[in-house]
Symmetry: C2
Subunit: 261 residues, 2 copies
């Protein structure tokens, strides 16, 4: 190529080459999901690299979520991630069981609390109004994938509190038990590190990467009724969606969230 901008760059450092080779091996299927990678010593020999250089390459692959380590057992290739197609507003069980996954929930907390500032603002309540707060770990095929923290106005929350929260989505309880017609939700999506409590709930290390979703669900009349913070394990889950370059004329604008996430 003859463009002035474009040129071949010098060879990357050794740890980048080790990383690239292992990454290729994983993506091509040469190293299968859940299989054991060669030991650090074996990789050092293969690449004529020091233990420190090998560790740097493995640390990067672990940060990317391609591999994980088990103390005393070695380094393994990660399983393919579970994913949720984001087209309509769906609960986790609804979306994932359609793909054949088994969903169970571990209820950690169910209590009445005075609404914190951000929750009160989202639900359009006076600060300190009683709300029901629910913490659940969602288990996908028996492994923890997300922590859901939900706040509901007390009247709806008391209906949800009587439901089977081990198997059912809150959305379905709201529709079927409380007779609410759900409308739309606004979502804010970002990333954060797991704090101690979240790491414990999700059976991951503190400081692990989390996909964080703040979701405010409205009823069909547009009143906010359900405010949630969802924390997904970054190494176990992804959202997928499709966007078109040309927006259809019917597409609706996004209402700004309060921006507290």
């Amino acid at each position: 190529m003859t463009t002035s901008n474009l040129h071949r760059q010098p060879a990357p450092p050794l740890y980048e080459r080790i990383k690239g080779t292992l990454r290729e091996g994983i993506l091509s299927g040469h190293y299968a999901p859940a299989s054991l990678l060669p030991s650090e010593a074996a990789l050092g020999e293969q690449f004529h690299a020091s233990r420190i250089t090998v560790r740097q390459a493995l640390a990067d692959l672990q940060n990317e979520g391609l591999i994980f380590r088990r103390h005393g057992k070695g380094t393994f290739v990660s399983q393919p991630k579970a994913f949720q197609n984001v087209t309509a507003l769906q609960g986790f069980a609804e979306a994932m069981s359609a793909q054949g996954h088994a969903i169970r929930n571990r209820v950690l907390t169910l209590r009445t609390v005075p609404a914190p500032t951000d929750v009160a603002q989202a639900l359009q309540l006076a600060p300190g109004t009683a709300v029901v707060e629910l913490h659940r770990v969602r288990l996908l095929d028996q492994s923890p994938v997300s922590l859901e923290v939900t706040w509901l106005p007390e009247a709806l929350g008391s209906v949800v509190a009587r439901a089977d929260l081990v198997t059912r989505d809150v959305f379905l309880v709201l529709e079927q038990d409380a007779g609410v017609a759900l409308g739309h939700a606004t979502l804010a999506i970002d990333a954060a590190l797991a704090d101690h409590a979240t790491a414990t709930a999700l059976d991951t290390g503190a400081g692990a990467a989390l996909l964080r979703v703040e979701r405010l669900t409205h009823d069909a009349q547009g009143a906010p009724i359900d405010f949630e913070r969802l924390y997904f394990r970054g190494d176990a889950f992804q959202y997928r969606l499709r966007l078109d370059r040309q927006v259809a004329a019917h597409a609706q604008s996004i209402l700004p969230l309060q921006g507290t996430v």
Copy 2:
């Protein structure tokens, strides 16, 4: 409330109460964005807590992105995050400049490489086919917000390589300079930790939380032409979108991505 499930729980541990009080203070605006929080010693006195307990609360708030620390200067309240409304397929500059932000790009790498397995698969090329690889840091109001790694087939890549990559989105170069009609893109969104190179590019610490987006853009005929990995600073950026409970009949299904993220 009299439901059997619902009950008041014992008081949370002290560090949770410190965290909750500071969080309230930040969200209510009592502590303004960019302002200095009280010192660890002052917080310890205020809450009758040890330095270790105060640090645990601050570490959690930092993981959440609500505060940040400057060595030797103290702990500060984070600025509100920049956000991108996700309705149509848009480049970063296109989306963010509409909100009045100034966008510049730092070009780190522009080179021709043999397509790695996952890139070749996404672009439907034979493995090893030459592709153009572009690494850019996107600066929002002069602060680094994302690292974009882009792979293009060589013919399109050579057009992009001749363009002004400091100010222009690749999407606009493809449309305006290469005459491509863009169609749709599939996105996979998850979270990961920053490796050393990404942390350096984004001026954050290694191990910081990243919102990671894998985006495969197709032309109007449905052929894949642009494969990207976008790494957004978790503490500086969020995606926002709106979902409806009832999917309109025109909504299109999402094509599965290859699932390598």
